[in-house]
């Protein structure tokens, strides 16, 4: 794809208005998970010297070290994991205070936290809300105990229901639930059941992830994609279509490949990623995208703590490559085409040139004919169609990646 050599002009990167905080602790590792986590077991950590406290210290130290960036004001903060709900209210408060102190958190900012059933009570949720959290993401995954076991989840269906009761009781009405389709042994009936139950709970937001067998996970040892007990391709594609039908009928917007929201409740934080904008990332394994540098932190707590020391010693300097213009273009397309709103061709033209837009349209022509890619003339944008275009998004994207 045509793109000028960006070496002569160094692009001016916009200021970060979002921050991701990684909380790696989990009671156990789920069988499909390849995230950077630190397994704590079921014991509770008390005292001032628990590993979680030590981690929160490193995290706050890292945050402090970014202070040279200036206090632009953050519009979204996201606590992801791991299991952030293993943090005490005090720990969350401490982290948010550190962030606010360094960057400022604007009034009305979206502050999300991922919570898992069985790890919180009413007091904790109320405490989180008191410290500023205003959006919760509940890891449900399935509404069948047998499937939760297959996944190695550390909670039961009963705990899901009591978790939802807690959220409703304390007035945490802006919450999302995560579901997984295409799990081992999962039947179409079970999936329909999960969707119906989700709709009955009526959360503001629902994320639905098709199971991916990631290398080196227990799933990779037990299963082969497309082969029983995993559903075959036809079935998991059917799950995807079924999801789209059920959730859109229930009034959710299918605003991203795997995400559904009631109007006004799209996840603002994740939209920053999909718009390929800059964001801070703090904590073990977290990635930040600051000044055009995508930087991933070490994926164990010890290595992360060591890295923070060096980072402090360097006065907050990150040494890594700046994303090239071509890569930035590919990322913009790869991420933007995940969204139902698509990618604005005017924006591409102003950032990468009209020639680039012409090349993109030429490559996409066969897919436009197949109706996997649609033009949105009123906004001069392109998007993937729902559900077919979304289902084959890799085929479309890899063509963009190949021809250039």
């Amino acid at each position: 794809m045509a793109s000028q050599d960006g070496s002569d002009i160094s692009p001016v990167f916009e200021a970060q208005r979002s921050a991701y905080v990684h909380v790696p602790f989990c009671r156990r590792r789920c069988f499909y998970c390849d995230f950077p986590v630190s397994v704590t077991g079921d014991r509770r950590h008390g005292g001032n010297f628990s590993p979680v406290d030590r981690y929160v210290d490193s995290l706050c130290q890292e945050i402090q070290t970014w202070s040279g960036q200036g206090k632009m004001g953050l519009e979204t903060v996201f606590f992801g994991g791991g299991t952030p709900s293993l943090l005490t209210v005090g720990q969350v408060e401490k982290i948010l205070r550190a962030i606010d102190g360094v960057f400022g958190i604007v009034p009305g900012a979206e502050i999300s936290i991922e919570v898992d059933p069985g790890t919180f009570d009413r007091d904790k949720i109320a405490g989180y809300i008191g410290s500023g959290v205003n959006r919760f993401s509940l890891g449900v995954q399935a509404f069948q105990d047998e499937l939760l076991q297959v996944c190695g989840r550390s909670h039961s269906v009963a705990e899901i229901h009591s978790a939802i009761e807690i959220l409703n009781a304390v007035g945490a009405d802006n919450f999302s639930i995560d579901l997984m389709s295409g799990l081992p042994y999962q039947t179409p009936q079970q999936w329909q059941e999960s969707l119906s139950k989700a709709v009955a709970i009526a959360p503001a937001h629902i994320s639905v992830y098709d199971t991916i067998v990631e290398p080196k996970t227990p799933f990779a040892r037990y299963y082969e994609p497309g082969v029983f007990p995993l559903p075959d391709d036809d079935t998991s594609a059917e799950f995807y279509r079924q999801t789209q039908k059920v959730l859109t009928t229930a009034g959710y917007e299918h605003y991203e490949i795997s995400n559904y929201a009631k109007p006004g409740f799209q996840c603002r934080h994740n939209r920053v990623y999909w718009h390929n904008r800059s964001y801070y990332g703090f904590g073990m394994g977290a990635t930040s995208y600051v000044n055009g540098q995508r930087f991933s932190r070490p994926r164990t707590t010890t290595k992360y703590a060591q890295w923070v020391e060096t980072f402090v010693a360097n006065n907050g300097k990150i040494n890594c490559e700046v994303v090239t213009e071509r890569d930035r273009l590919l990322e913009t397309l790869m991420l933007g085409l995940r969204l139902a709103e698509g990618v604005s061709l005017d924006a591409i033209a102003s950032e990468f040139g009209q020639e680039t837009v012409d090349t993109i349209l030429e490559i996409l022509q066969p897919y436009i004919e197949k109706e996997w890619v649609k033009m949105i003339p009123e906004r001069n944008a392109i998007r993937l169609s729902d559900p077919e275009g979304f289902l084959y998004s890799n085929a479309v994207l890899s063509s963009l990646f190949a021809d250039g």
Partner: protein, 603 residues
């Protein structure tokens, strides 16, 4: 370079099976005689090409001149002429041996004699070479020198009382070997007064000086200002330089009978100075050339196609360049409906084929698709003419031909006796005819079969190795052509016949092969957004059929901030995979699919 009388020259080579330690021993000899200093020693000095070093085998042979003061106080010149260690290059081996008076037979004391070694020893005996048995790796705990000596005596009939026990790795026995060479290998005959005849045993192309020819002067003298004639290629050249290999090239003024050296004369391609050709003087030519020259005859053919059609000219250039250095390589343009423009290439054997492919990809940066190897069939058409077919897709249809003959080889395998059963079974499934079985020793056996070459050029060697847990070795020789009931099996992908996948098989095996091949292709060709039928047919009759189900989804469900680089890499990989595939109609077919024939289970 000091002049040494003919009586104090010794020309020898080393015969050994792969891994039995030939190159290490050669290195030792070079170091011990001070030819190469210790610190300059690259491991395995004689194996020059990267590929050779990686595979641990010698492909291009070379030579080295060593000065040695023996225990008798005399100065000797020892010329080591290396030989390639693979059956594909048996002609080159025979020319190297013809340039020597003696050979070291190196046998791994923990293993024993292998088929390839045996073949080369017989070749050496035919050339009247004095053979010095060396038992190598004597330091290994598993060494059984007495058993191996017994085996050499019984199998080859070679007297082994003087056998040297050595360890090239540890430097044990190296002095004894040097002394034995001086004592046992006869000096060359003193024929300095006769007209010049020098035997070419190797040549390679040098971009600056043209072809560098390695030769042994058999008769007469060659001087640096001579004009030479090559008796087979009938070309004449003025010499630019002559010299010896020590082992780097050192120029000299003249070389006389018995000596080994190199020459450069602005020769444009190795085809003009092929191995086995005789060098004589243009002004005073010898009456007849040295015996043993043979034209290179490729036995195995395959199609080579660039994945990217734009690389066709690059491929042509690369083949031209390789050909400068490889007289046995043949190629001519081929136009395949499925694959576009490429080349039909002929090779001495499978290893030769693999080496060429690998060099094209590695040294010339080409992305190639190779079709399954084929042999040369003799087809008699309705006019009674015999035509040669090296490409299955060009086989005349059944009503346009009277008969097809295919090449047969005599295969000799040496194996520990417990693998005789599995190997016989292998040969039977490959249409082999049993000829002979002999016990070499109570536990080792030779097994002789006659087999169609076509059945051997696929995966026979790998099968033999796996069925014998790596212990069996083999050697083969072409024995002629035989008529068989052969048919062409066509493969259709999404109803399009793919000429590059067509194969010639025996009618009795067409069904199982067709079935395995369609099954394999189903595995190798990725899913598309539509259903892809794969069929095997003889003429218009479909005999096997499979289909690749349509791809229903191709999506990365989750993509959060930390995932972006990883997802991008996945897409880049997918994009790259797409680029390396060949589009057959609307179906993208990966490179491996064109070699599917080598991967199928043939019973």
């Amino acid at each position: 370079m000091t002049d040494v009388p003919v009586s104090r020259i010794r020309n020898f080579s080393i015969i050994a099976h792969i891994d039995h330690g030939k190159s290490t021993l050669a290195d030792r000899l070079l170091m011990r005689t001070g030819t190469v200093e210790n610190r300059k020693m690259k491991q395995q000095f004689l194996d020059n090409m990267d590929l050779e070093r990686e595979r641990g085998i010698t492909i291009k042979l070379q030579a080295a001149r060593m000065n040695y003061t023996a225990k008798d106080g005399q100065h000797y010149v020892l010329n080591l002429i290396d030989t390639p260690g693979h059956v594909d290059f048996s002609y080159e081996v025979s020319r190297s041996l013809a340039a020597c008076e003696g050979a070291l037979l190196v046998v791994d004391a923990s293993q024993g004699v292998e088929a390839q070694t045996l073949a080369n020893v017989y070749l050496a005996l035919e050339h009247d070479l004095e053979i010095i048995p060396v038992l190598n790796k004597i330091d290994l705990p598993g060494a059984e020198p007495d058993r191996v000596i017994e085996e050499i005596e019984e199998v080859i009939g070679l007297e082994c009382t003087g056998a040297i026990r050595a360890s090239a790795k540890e430097g044990i026995g190296v002095d004894e070997i040097l002394e034995a060479i001086v004592r046992s290998v006869p000096p060359p005959q003193d024929t300095v007064s006769q007209p010049l005849r020098a035997l070419i045993f190797d040549s390679y192309y040098d971009a600056y000086r043209g072809v560098i020819v390695y030769f042994r002067v058999m008769d007469g003298t060659l001087k640096k200002d001579d004009r030479i004639r090559l008796m087979a290629s009938k070309k004449e050249y003025d010499l630019d330089e002559i010299g010896v290999l020590s082992p780097t090239q050192i120029q000299v003024d003249e070389l006389h009978a018995g000596e080994v050296g190199y020459l450069a004369a602005a020769i444009k391609t190795v085809e003009d100075a092929r191995v086995g050709d005789t060098i004589t003087l243009a002004t005073a030519p010898a009456e007849s050339p040295l015996p043993g020259y043979t034209e290179a005859k490729p036995m195995v053919f395959c199609g080579l196609f660039p994945t990217d059609a734009d690389q066709f000219e690059d491929l042509r250039e690369a083949l031209e360049r390789l050909k400068l250095n490889d007289a046995a390589l043949q190629y001519e343009p081929e136009n395949s409906t499925a694959m576009g423009f490429g080349f039909r290439c002929g090779f001495l054997g499978l290893l030769h084929m693999e080496i060429v492919q690998e060099r094209l990809e590695r040294e010339y940066n080409l992305d190639l698709i190779t079709t399954a190897p084929s042999v040369v069939y003799k087809v008699e058409n309705n006019d009674g003419e015999t035509i040669l077919i090296d490409n299955p897709s060009t086989l005349p249809s059944p009503n346009e031909r009277r008969k097809i003959e295919e090449p047969y080889i005599n295969v000799e395998m040496i194996t520990p006796e417990e693998y005789v059963g599995p190997l016989m079974e292998l040969c039977q499934t490959r249409r082999g005819e049993f000829k002979d079985m002999k016990y070499l020793t109570p536990t080792r056996t030779t097994l002789v079969y006659e087999l169609p070459l076509a059945e051997v050029v696929t995966d026979f060697f790998d099968q033999m190795k796996s069925r014998s847990r790596g212990y069996a070795s083999m050697e083969y020789a072409l024995i002629g052509y035989r008529e068989n009931n052969l048919v062409r099996l066509d493969i259709m992908v999404n109803h399009d016949p793919v000429d590059a996948l067509a194969i010639i098989v025996h009618r009795d095996k067409a069904y199982p092969v067709g079935r395995s091949l369609t099954e394999k292709l189903k595995e190798l060709i990725p899913r598309h957004q539509f259903k892809v039928p794969i069929q095997a047919a003889i003429g218009s009759r479909v005999i096997a059929s499979e289909h690749i189900p349509a791809l229903r989804k191709d999506v990365l469900s989750k993509c959060y901030g930390g995932d972006i680089s990883r997802k991008k890499k996945l897409l880049q990989k997918q994009a790259k995979g797409k680029k390396r595939m060949k589009a057959i109609g609307t179906v993208d077919v990966p490179q491996e699919a064109f070699m599917a024939m080598l991967q199928i289970d043939r019973g």
